[in-house]
């Protein structure tokens, strides 16, 4: 099965670089200049989802590992940040407000390290990565993959949510962690600070995208694709597929954790409702809709789906969910390559018009056909 890798074939590498620079310019100059404060705040939230999507694109699109529990890693990052902010808001020596409602008077041991930024900030990436690495090492060695891996990660998401809700005194329960007025001494309602969070988030997205691209262009990237397409063959060639898969899975978890940490000061809340089974599947849908075979696809999917969600729910407050569902069904049903696939399809159509031998319609159809088969 020939899925195009991240490098996009043998095209001039400068196309990609110029494209990236143009998009970066749009994100860093155009968006802040044209969007309202509220619009920019929403856009920052979309970018957080785009960061998760890049990670899923790496693990699923390139590595063939379909994780239906990405919300867990998003949540670990988000809660690590939320715990730090909550302790900052409570002040030294005091417990967060929700603990006293639940009758917890002393700061639990688990919370103690999160008083310090130098522990909390690295934890947003390290904790999800470590959990993913531990889980990955266990299951990939036993050659659990495909649907079984997906079910396992989904069960993890369900268990994580039950734990968070059940331990209300330690986690905030269904409410989650909310009511942060400031982060790092910055007033969160101030549009200037929100603008800064936007630039940080956009910068992180750019960096994560480049990291994924660099990985895929490297020897490791070729091995990852090889493991996806023929794990046994790679094993016989003398490589250890477990290590290769654990690395990709753990990086995608780290990206989700980072996105969670950025999400908290931007949106102002982290709760179990954001990281259970349904939101985890939604994260995968972002990637499926955008197109998992490229690294750009997931980003496009995350931005497009979230934009559609906001605008449809504003326009049709009581019926928007049906429209969103329809959108998913139509895109997955008629464009299995996702939105990015439409771009690729358009490009090859253009090539054909120009009489370029690049991709024949038959090749393109074959590629689409291949794509329908799940990895």
């Amino acid at each position: 099965m020939k899925m195009p890798g991240a490098s996009g074939g043998a095209r001039n590498p400068w196309y990609g670089r110029i494209g990236f620079a143009l998009v970066a310019l749009g994100f860093l100059v155009l968006a802040p200049a044209t969007l309202s404060d509220f619009g920019l705040n929403l856009f920052t939230k979309y970018l957080c989802y785009a960061i998760i999507a890049v990670g899923i694109g790496l693990a699923w699109g390139q590595g063939g590992m379909l994780s239906l529990g990405q919300g867990v890693f998003f949540g670990l990052g988000g809660y690590a940040m939320g715990m730090y902010l909550k302790l900052q808001a409570a002040g030294p020596g005091k417990v967060p407000d929700f603990m006293s409602w639940s009758g917890v008077e002393k700061l639990p041991l688990l919370w103690k390290p999160f008083q310090y930024a130098w522990i909390a900030l690295p934890a947003v990436v390290v904790v999800p990565m470590a959990v993913a690495a531990g889980l990955g090492a266990m299951v990939f060695r036993r050659r659990v993959r495909g649907a079984y891996f997906a079910i396992l990660t989904q069960a993890l998401a369900a268990a994580f949510v039950i734990l968070l809700i059940g331990e209300q005194g330690y986690t905030g329960g269904t409410n989650g962690l909310t009511n942060f007025s400031q982060a790092f001494g910055l007033d969160l309602a101030d549009p200037t600070n929100q603008r800064m969070f936007y630039f940080i988030t956009a910068g992180v997205l750019g960096a994560m995208f480049l990291l994924a691209r660099q990985l895929m262009a490297s020897r490791y990237g070729r091995l990852l694709v090889a493991v996806r397409d023929g794990e046994e063959r790679v094993r016989f060639l003398g490589y250890n597929p477990t290590v290769i898969k654990v690395i990709a899975f753990s990086i995608s978890a780290g990206m989700a954790g980072l996105a969670g940490a950025l999400f908290v000061p931007v949106v102002g809340i982290i709760s179990p409702a954001l990281l259970g089974i349904v939101p985890s599947i939604e994260m995968v849908i972002l990637v499926a809709l955008g197109g998992r075979s490229s690294l750009v696809g997931p980003v496009i999917g995350a931005l497009a789906v979230n934009y559609a969600k906001t605008s449809l729910s504003n326009r049709f407050p009581s019926g928007w969910l049906y429209l969103e569902g329809l959108l998913f069904v139509v895109v997955i049903g008629f464009a299995p390559m996702g939105l990015a696939g439409l771009v690729g399809y358009g490009r090859s159509a253009l090539d054909r018009l120009r009489g370029s031998p690049g991709a024949s319609p038959a090749d393109e159809a074959k590629r689409l056909e291949d794509e329908v088969v799940p990895a």
Partner: protein, 421 residues
């Protein structure tokens, strides 16, 4: 293979449609009656939130989708009825109210986001909304940071007071404590506490335990089930074995259906061991099944059967607007009352400015369907009459006991010596 190209057409069409729809949506709310002359002559009224020409925009933010929709849509309907009545009576500051409706989707972060949008983009004068404590906790920082005004219509666990929120439902000392006093007066001193596992039942039970300790009552057990749980076999057995005098029930939503069915199945009758519920109103009774719950107790501030002239008018108006088979309940009445109170406060202040409305609202009284309510200035809660009711065979609730006069709200239970926070 050519047909593939045409298959992509629906995708492109749908995307375009979504874009167009969203673009229309933005225009629809701002284009109506946006006459700049109206505000210019008003002498500074242009700065008032929500005022656009001859119209005042107000927000309505309830779950119209998801698990909470079944309860919250009814509250939204009651609020829309009140807005119609305010408009028919001449509106606010002589301007008609226009509602901007948003869906909280039973999802707390969505509530926060839509609240932010209503305040900063739609620039509404005030927002009526919320049901679950989680949704209120998520919206609270938004209303505080962006200086908005929220009217929250549901009974809750207390221990909260925000200058940017008015609480028109009961706080604990207007619902749970009167419920306990009723049980104590009936000689039911051994209680079993049963609740869904989230902030309201946890906090309420903490308060119930403190009350019980100070009043010679005993708590035989305290059990929580996850929201939406339907397995009560073990718990019902436990209740039967513990033999409490009564069960204090803070279960929410679907769990009640399973609980009452299994309780009835175990042969436990309300006569032997009554269950007093604080989250079951007329809307929920039908869903649980009248035969499963008939004879059980509830604690609220209002029932559809409450005997006041204002209530007769309210019930009739609601049925006329939404259908003769509709029922009304306490949170709906609180939402309806909230709209009228805000309109009165804004008219009194001659402004929709939040600080001006707040100043005018303190001490305001309104002849609500539940009887006269008064806004308590410092806590921004209402003086409300507590009513214990029994569920009848027709699915309606009849009052069996009530407080002699409206009870002063005390969200932090400061006037109770047994409460240490």
């Amino acid at each position: 293979m050519k047909h593939r190209r045409y298959e992509l057409l629906p995708v492109a069409l749908l995307c375009v449609l979504a874009l167009v729809a969203s673009a229309c949506g933005k225009k629809a709310t701002t284009s109506t009656g946006a006459t700049p002359t109206g505000t210019a002559s008003g002498g500074g009224s242009g700065a008032m939130p929500g005022v656009v020409g001859a119209i005042i925009k107000v927000g309505d933010l309830h779950s119209l989708s998801g698990t909470m929709a079944i309860s919250e849509v009814a509250v939204k309907n009651a609020e829309l009825l009140a807005i119609d009545e305010v408009n028919a009576a001449g509106g606010v500051l002589g301007k008609q109210l226009q509602v901007v409706t948003q869906d909280g989707a039973s999802d707390w972060p969505t509530f926060a986001e839509k609240a932010k949008q209503l305040i900063t983009v739609d620039k509404v004068a005030t927002v009526f909304g919320g049901w679950t404590s989680a949704s209120r906790k998520a919206m609270l920082p938004v209303f505080e940071q962006y200086k908005g005004l929220l009217w929250y219509p549901v009974q809750y666990e207390g221990l909260e007071s925000s200058p940017d929120i008015y609480y028109t439902g009961a706080t604990t000392n207007q619902q749970i404590i009167p419920g306990l006093e009723y049980l104590k007066a009936q000689g039911k001193t051994k209680l079993f506490l049963l609740g869904s596992d989230y902030v309201f039942p946890r906090t309420a039970n903490k308060e119930i335990k403190a009350y019980a300790a100070a009043n010679g009552m005993t708590i035989v057990d305290e059990q929580y089930t996850p929201l939406g749980s339907t397995e009560f076999g073990t718990l019902v057995n436990k209740i039967a074995a513990d033999k409490p005098d009564a069960v204090f029930n803070t279960l929410n939503g679907d769990s009640n259906v399973a609980f009452f069915k299994q309780l009835k199945g175990a042969g436990i009758t309300p006569q032997q061991m009554p269950v007093l519920s604080v989250s079951i109103a007329e809307q929920e009774v039908a869903g649980i099944g009248i035969q499963n719950i008939v004879g059980q107790l509830t604690a609220w501030n209002y029932y559809q059967t409450t005997n006041t002239p204002e209530n007769a008018k309210f019930v009739a108006a609601y049925k006329a607007k939404y259908g003769a088979n509709q029922t009304v309940d306490d949170p709906m009445e609180a939402g309806y009352t909230a709209v009228h109170l805000w309109a009165m406060a804004a008219n009194k202040a001659q402004s929709t400015d939040v600080a001006a409305v707040r100043a005018a609202a303190a001490g305001l009284t309104f002849a609500a369907p539940e009887g006269t309510v008064t806004i308590d200035g410092p806590t921004q809660h209402l003086y409300k009459t507590a009513r214990i009711g029994v569920i009848g065979a027709d699915g309606l609730i009849t009052e069996v006991s009530s407080s002699p006069q409206p009870i002063k709200p005390d969200p932090y239970l400061k006037s109770y010596t047994w409460w240490k926070g």
